[in-house]
């Protein structure tokens, strides 16, 4: 189950650049100077301890949390220095899957997926219906869910619908907060395959928070490890395996990781 990705995307343009990002809550900093870059077409896995600030970092990247200092550039534009219109244009170029799904609770599944398309594209009704269903089928859902309300879905289904909604506008960057948690291992594997397929076709750049070692091995080009509010390692899986940091050692060489590499060998 070695990495089969061939399209080494080195040398692409930088789509996200984070410099000295500091952020937190109520005077307590969670991120204490985070630096990294993401190139076009990369699939990045963000790892870190639970409560270590991965969601905070993701939310800062998409501009939901104010930062205390540092800068974030997306598509070469500093998000703090652009006008509202340009910001909205950038926001349409990314899709976000929140950790809790964040589906609109008063809309059906169909309406949730159609919502971004209806607002941003002028599609005929027939096309809207067909594309929404195609997106849902892509993420492995059956057409029976179309008219369900979010409160009637299982946890894994919520994740998939949220992913379908994040993909609705064929975004260039996809931010995923723990996309495979709550999915069974088979679906999680399908999900990784889907991400890779979409990455290849649409040239997606993917920023994915994940604890799923399989995803890290198979789907991610590069892994960024966050600990104590800083990036402690940044590189492909081999870098992680060789890293000396105690947290990374126990993460990638702990009992669960062992059983995985045993199975893969």
């Amino acid at each position: 189950m070695a990495k089969s990705k061939t399209n080494g995307v080195n040398g692409g343009e930088t789509v996200i650049r984070v410099r000295g990002l500091v952020s937190g809550f109520h005077g307590v900093s969670v991120l204490k100077g985070v630096d990294f870059e993401i190139k076009h077409g990369e699939v990045i896995g963000l790892v870190g301890a639970s409560g270590g600030g991965k969601s905070v970092l993701t939310r800062s990247l998409i501009g939901l949390l104010p930062k205390w200092s540092g800068s974030i550039e997306v598509f070469g534009r500093d998000l703090d220095k652009i006008e509202e219109r340009e910001r909205q244009a950038i926001e349409r170029r990314w899709g976000v899957l929140f950790q809790g799904g964040a589906l609109f609770s008063s809309l059906t599944v169909r309406q949730n997926v159609q919502f971004p398309m209806r607002e941003n594209l002028s599609l005929s009704n027939r096309l809207l219906e067909e594309i929404a269903l195609a997106k849902l089928e892509m993420v492995g859902l059956h057409r029976d869910v179309l008219d369900k309300m979010p409160s009637e879905l299982s946890g894994g289904m919520v994740k998939r619908v949220a992913l379908a909604r994040a993909l609705a506008l064929d975004p260039e960057i996809l931010f995923l907060d723990e996309p495979t948690s709550g999915l069974d291992p088979i679906s999680a594997g399908d999900f990784d395959a889907l991400i890779m397929a979409l990455q290849e076709t649409l040239g997606l750049t993917v920023f994915m928070v994940t604890h799923d070692l399989d995803s890290l091995y198979t789907a991610c080009d590069r892994i960024i490890a966050l600990a104590d509010g800083k990036v402690i390692a940044d590189g492909p899986i081999e870098t992680m395996l060789e890293a000396e940091h105690p947290w990374l050692k126990s993460y990638f060489h702990g009992a669960r990781a062992q059983s995985r590499s045993g199975a893969a060998a």
Partner: protein, 378 residues
Amino acid sequence: MAAEALLHVRVEGRRLVLDAAGGWVAARASEIEALVEGVFRKRPAVDAVEINLTHLERLDTVGAWLIERLRRAAGDAKLYPEIVGIDPRFKVLLDEVAISNKEPPHPHPRKGALIDFLEHVGIAVAEVGKDLSSIVQFTGEVVVASGRVLLAPMRLRFTSIVHHLDRVGFRAVPIIVLINFLIGAILAQQGIFHFRRFGAETFVVDMVGILVLREVGVLIVSIMLAGRSGSAYTAELGSMKMREEMDALRVMGFDPVEVLILPRLIALIVALPLLTIVGSLAALVGGGLVSWVYGGFPPEVFLDRLREAVTLDTIKVGMIKAPFMAAVIGLVACVEGLRVEGSAESLGEHTTNSVVKSIFLVIVLDGFFAVFFAAIGV
């Protein structure tokens, strides 16, 4: 770019060649869709269709789906479609959409306007029945829980009651005082203005005293609390229900009625009569002040007349209603809270219902009390 042809159609012998070119992307979906629909509108005189993607530059899901639609339309016309010149970059996406939408999506269920209207009326009528039965059922649950607590008073959540008393009672004092003061003042002003024509200004004191102590004080306080605390109860319980907090309590062996609802109800039943006393006093002060400033009779006169006009019965009639009003408001608020379902919209709807229904029931109840007291001659 805009002028370029997205779809070239030409006939080669018995074969129709469809050349897709440029960017097949969502932004140009309507143009592309029109082109795609146009191709097979009238059956071309050919035996086979070739879809050539060699000149395709960009493709997204919408574009890929439209190519797939083209292929299916050709397939339906028995024209043996064949896609050639697929860029490897696009292959995955085309394969992905090729297996989707095997059956057309169900249409939105649409009925006629009349049927819709009748359905709504039916649902509304059935709702009223359900409302009544759920209030009765819920009252039963509360009584059972109260019974349990009475048998084991240690189970009463005293801290919680005090907390809610603070919220619904103590913190409501300023607004209740203000509103009742104004109402008392307005009543007195109107009374003086109109009674003056008959030279009967002094009866204003009787009117204000009796009206405030029997009816207005308790009604205003009840309506305020229905809006202020009933809505808060509904929203709190509703969002707890949405986030499975009730279920969490239940599986830990707690009864949500006992833990969440009883303290809220008790707090309301204690707070409303106390606020009625405060509110009625404020209204009398307001009335007294206006009588003095606008009507010209000093406070001693006002108090004297008040003492004559108001008996203990008047006060009792007002006060006895207060706990019943509180119970109605609390029960309706909690029932509505527990009926909230998954969506934010449902939360809003039930919060509105809670306020509207409790105000309605408070006024109906007041009517019943009026009839009752008239019958027993108080």
